[in-house]
């Protein structure tokens, strides 16, 4: 037993903690013990956060060669976002469908989260792929969890078939990389130059573009969002999208940085396409879930846009991207929680998932209306909320690359997005031809049922407070994400090692 063994165990410990949680939930589910759900969740998530924090303090030897898992402050901040998003989504998943499926979806969510954490921590292609598959398979099953709904079954099948294609393409890409370089280590691939890598890169971009739901590969997204129950949708929208974006980002940053001349135009094109078409299609939606599906495509486009800045200073870029991911997670989960409070749970959520359900909400339930307004304004990017700061970060990163047209395109897109986000606010507050009617709405009853649990209100409150807090005090996130560095006072460069010179520099400082 040497120290290195413990180190590598510690690096993967957060993932193990979440897997343990999944297994315990599975066992408890068999014995129908449900009162333990929240304490367990809180305990294990806190443990996972704690261990990923400790993990960031482990010194890296030999510039990180031969590692399977990475544990640095980037991994820490991504884990933090994923775990918080998982925690909030799991809180939503409460008494919303039949009891049995709640247990199922609890377990599946925990497994999916462990896969997501594996993806963002991977330093090796095989680990990355295993994480990718754990995540995907759990999510295919999740989207079909409302067994009695045809839409849900359809969503699950559609997602599964298309997802398998994407996985296959990606695996083929990984295989080509191995064929070309004889290595699966992310950092080693970066140093080789082989024509076959171009093909591999193409396949990998394809696979990730599907998983994230970027524009030409997005067709599963609106249907899955509409078909799956809201809790599952919020999980897919946040955890899956964040994990996929983060893993994609790390792969490009570590392994394919030398190929940036090839992928920058592709990524820029995908980003603009996703934003523009996503926003334009969102304009026409009556279903809130579909609207948020298209809006998530658009937001993926904004984040993707920041990838083109990878060539420049990585220092700021990481915190910019993680900030945007955090912002996106908070706003989206919050919006879904409000949606769930309004449309209720069970079968009726499909019928009520319409803009008109929000009619007059702002006056009937001021606090809820206020929270929804906050989320919508933040998604639209109104200062001083998180959405604005996120956009500011991304815009400033991209401007450094002199791709001004890309930023202008994003700015114009933001205006388009104003239209549909503000429409929700309009329906909630304004008297229009279809708006605010005097009569009491019938949804009241189902609402009270759910309110009794209090979970949803808790999620809405937490998200709303964070949307304001991290917006006004944007510095807070930077401090949090760099906390391990400052605390362990590591001199190593906290970031992913991009090139050899950088790497040797940080290793030198260590000794």
């Amino acid at each position: 037993m040497n120290i290195e063994f413990f180190d590598s165990i510690l690096r993967v410990l957060p993932v193990l903690v979440v897997i343990t949680l999944a297994i315990i939930q599975l066992l408890l589910g068999l014995s129908k013990e449900k009162s333990l759900k929240l304490p367990l969740l809180v305990l294990f998530v806190l443990f996972a956060v704690f261990f990923s924090f400790l993990g960031a303090g482990i010194p890296v030897k030999n510039g990180g060669a031969g590692l399977l898992f990475q544990a640095d402050s980037l991994t820490w901040s991504l884990n933090f976002i994923l775990l918080s998003a998982y925690f909030l989504s799991a809180c939503l998943n409460n008494k919303q469908a039949t009891d049995k499926s709640v247990v199922d979806s609890d377990v599946l969510m925990a497994f999916a989260t462990s896969g997501a954490m594996l993806m963002v921590a991977a330093a090796n292609l095989i680990v990355l792929f295993i994480g990718f598959e754990i995540l995907s398979i759990a999510v295919y099953a999740l989207s079909g969890v409302a067994k009695k709904e045809k839409a849900s079954a359809e969503a699950s099948l559609k997602y599964f078939i298309l997802g398998c294609f994407a996985s296959a393409f990606m695996l083929y890409g990984f295989a080509l990389i191995y064929g070309a370089t004889g290595n699966l280590d992310l950092a080693v691939i970066a140093k080789s130059d082989n024509t076959m890598l171009y093909l591999a890169l193409g396949l990998i971009i394809f696979g990730f573009a599907f998983k994230i739901g970027l524009m030409p590969f997005h067709y599963w997204k609106p249907d899955v969002y509409q078909g799956a129950p809201i809790t599952v949708v919020s999980f897919i929208a946040v955890v899956v999208q964040i994990a996929a974006l983060a893993a994609f980002f790390k792969l490009l940053a570590i392994s394919f940085i030398e190929f940036s001349a090839v992928w920058v135009p592709v990524i820029a094109g995908l980003a603009v396409l996703s934003m523009t078409v996503g926003n334009l299609l969102a304009l026409r939606q009556d279903s809130l879930k579909r609207m948020l599906a298209y809006s998530s495509i658009a937001h993926a486009g904004y984040i993707l846009m920041a990838f083109v800045a990878l060539k420049n200073s990585a220092e700021l870029l990481y915190s910019s991207i993680t900030y945007y991911l955090l912002a996106y997670a908070l706003m989206t989960i919050g919006a879904f929680a409000v949606l769930m409070l309004v449309t209720g749970a069970g079968a009726e959520q499909y019928k009520k998932d319409r803009l008109m359900t929000f009619d007059g909400l702002g006056w009937e339930r001021p606090a809820l209306g206020f929270a929804m307004t906050l989320f919508m304004l933040s998604l639209a990017g109104i200062p001083p909320l998180v959405g604005f700061v996120g956009k500011f970060y991304v815009f400033s990163e991209v401007i450094k690359t002199d791709l001004i047209w890309l930023v202008v395109a994003a700015a114009i897109n933001s205006v388009i997005s104003f239209c549909y986000y503000l429409r929700v606010v309009l329906v909630m507050y304004f008297k229009t031809e279809y708006g605010v009617k005097g009569k009491k709405r019938q949804t009241k009853d189902s609402l009270d049922n759910i309110l009794a649990t209090g979970y949803l209100k808790f999620v809405v409150t937490i998200s709303a407070v964070c949307v304001i807090f991290f917006g006004v005090y944007a510095q807070g996130w930077t401090k949090l994400s760099e906390l391990p560095n400052n605390l362990f006072s590591l001199k190593q460069s906290s970031k992913v090692k991009v090139d050899g010179a950088n790497m040797s520099h940080s290793v030198e400082l260590l000794h």
């Binding site: 200062p383 401007i399 700015a411």
Partner: protein, 495 residues
């Protein structure tokens, strides 16, 4: 100059605190809600007047500067300060907000939310006037949309949802491009000087190529032109002004339009001097078109509120003209005219609202000969109308005179056309006044008429007195802004 208190921060944030306080007032206690809002706006007004006693008018530089770090990795700081130009506009804002809270009717629905929106709006406007860091400026600038959106949408009339929407989208188009330009400038600064900076003062040191200047100038100018608005970006205005409740209309016309002009002076002039000269003729032309187009459109309106809305476009054209003349007289005229326009337009909108409440109609043709029944109203209105047409001894005269003087110095043709605008202004203003006030008495709905009551007089008299005082003795106002304006113009001419 800082005497221990962060006086500017107090001025900016007091209204927001007030909005928070309103939240705790029980919904039924409408009088208490109004009282709270009134006291808060009064306190804000008094502390801004208090600035005068500590403000050094001979100093052209920014005073009372405060600085707090906000986003360290981009060197964005919450920096605020005041100079001769922003001081006047801050005073105008706090005065008008106080007066219009005073004018708010007790029976307004959801009065707490209404007053809260006004207070939030005041905070964001004051913040935008006082911010010295571009990102902070942008944040206040964009935040402003939200209360206006709600005010038009909830308390507005006549297709209010659409008007609110149009207003937000128009403004957002301009401001998001401005955000891109702001970030680009910050990045340019980092390229040239090694560290990020979003301070206006720092940006004056930037070396920009002509092409860069033109592009950036356009991005900024578009945002400002939409806000003012200058023809042809004015199409949101008639809808928004007409739909908005009176308080919303007054803030939009009286204060928010000034933000556009303020931005032109604060950003475009010192940071993009070459582009400003390059586009000066265009701006003069657009200013002139606004004057004449606004006047002609006002002439043919039948609805009084719409008429005043178009007259506002016309009057703001004078400010643009003064700005684009790019000389000391024009600039002084522009700044004075900004204050004047705020005072006059607020009074006119208030009076039209009172009239509409009395006669149950805003159409010109529905009433005639009201002067007989409403003598006080007619007198007060007449003074505001005189101010609007720039009659000597009212403030409008001084401002318009300076603007035209500046314009003549620059270009005789434009100066001549501006005079035409003044004549047109007198024509349409006096003609509707004559139709409504003189002739045989009649009202459409035979409603009972009552002259101005004490509350209304209380709101209108300060405006009225200021119109006359500035008209007779404008020197103190010039003294306040003289040093700053001189510095802006002179440093501009040097470049």
């Amino acid at each position: 100059m800082n005497y221990g208190l962060n006086i500017l921060s107090i001025i900016i944030w007091t209204p927001l605190v007030g909005a928070g306080l309103l939240f705790f007032v029980p919904p039924v206690k409408v009088r208490l809600a109004k009282l709270v809002a009134l006291l808060i706006t009064l306190a804000t007004f008094i502390s801004s007047v208090n600035l005068l006693s500590f403000f050094n008018a001979r100093e052209a530089k920014l005073q009372f500067v405060e600085e707090i770090s906000w986003l360290a990795q981009f060197d964005i700081n919450y920096v605020i300060g005041v100079d001769g130009i922003s001081l006047l506009l801050v005073l105008l804002t706090t005065l008008l907000t106080f007066l219009l809270v005073l004018s708010v009717k007790i029976d307004t629905s959801n009065i707490r939310a209404y007053l809260g929106s006004i207070l939030l709006l005041e905070t964001s406007i004051l913040g935008a006037f006082l911010a010295l860091d571009a990102i902070i400026f942008y944040m206040f600038w964009e935040l402003m949309l939200i209360p206006v959106y709600f005010m038009i949408g909830i308390w507005g009339t006549e297709n209010q949802g659409k008007s609110a929407f149009k207003f937000v989208i128009y403004t957002a188009v301009g401001s998001l491009l401005m955000l891109v330009a702001i970030i680009y400038l910050g990045y340019q600064f980092q390229q040239q000087f090694g560290t990020y900076s979003f301070l206006f003062a720092d940006w004056m040191k930037l070396q920009l190529s002509f092409q860069q200047e033109v592009m950036l100038f356009l991005a900024f100018a578009l945002a400002f032109a939409i806000k003012i608005p200058i023809f042809p970006f004015h199409t949101w205005l008639p809808n928004a002004y007409t739909s908005a409740p009176t308080a919303g209309t007054i803030i939009l016309a009286g204060v928010m339009s000034k933000l556009g002009l303020y931005g032109l002076i604060r950003f475009c002039l010192p940071i993009f001097p070459q582009a400003t000269i390059y586009f000066a003729s265009l701006f003069m032309l657009l200013g002139l078109v606004s004057i004449i187009y606004g006047a002609l459109m006002a002439w043919v309106q039948t609805d009084l509120k719409r008429l005043i809305a178009y007259s506002s476009i016309s009057h703001l054209g004078f400010c643009v003209l003064g700005y684009a003349a790019l000389n000391l007289e024009g600039m002084k005229g522009c700044i004075l005219q900004m204050v004047n326009h705020g005072l006059i337009i607020a009074g006119l909108f208030l009076l039209v609202e009172i009239l509409a409440a009395q006669t149950k109609s805003r159409l010109i043709l529905d009433s005639a000969g009201l002067a007989v029944k409403l003598p006080v109203f007619a007198t007060v209105l007449f003074i505001f109308v005189l101010g609007a047409i720039g009659f000597p001894l009212t403030n409008g005269f001084v401002g318009e005179f300076l603007v035209m003087f500046g314009t003549f110095k620059r270009n005789y043709l434009f100066g001549g056309l501006a005079v035409l605008g003044v004549i047109l202004g007198a024509l349409y203003m006096l003609s509707w006044y004559r139709r409504v006030m003189f002739g045989k008495f009649s009202t459409a709905n035979n409603s009972e008429l009552a002259d101005l009551n004490a509350n209304e007089l209380l709101v209108l008299l300060p405006l009225l007195m200021l119109i006359l005082i500035i008209g007779i003795h404008p020197q103190p106002l010039f003294n306040l802004s003289e040093a700053t304006v001189r510095m802006y113009v002179e440093s501009f001419i040097k470049k």
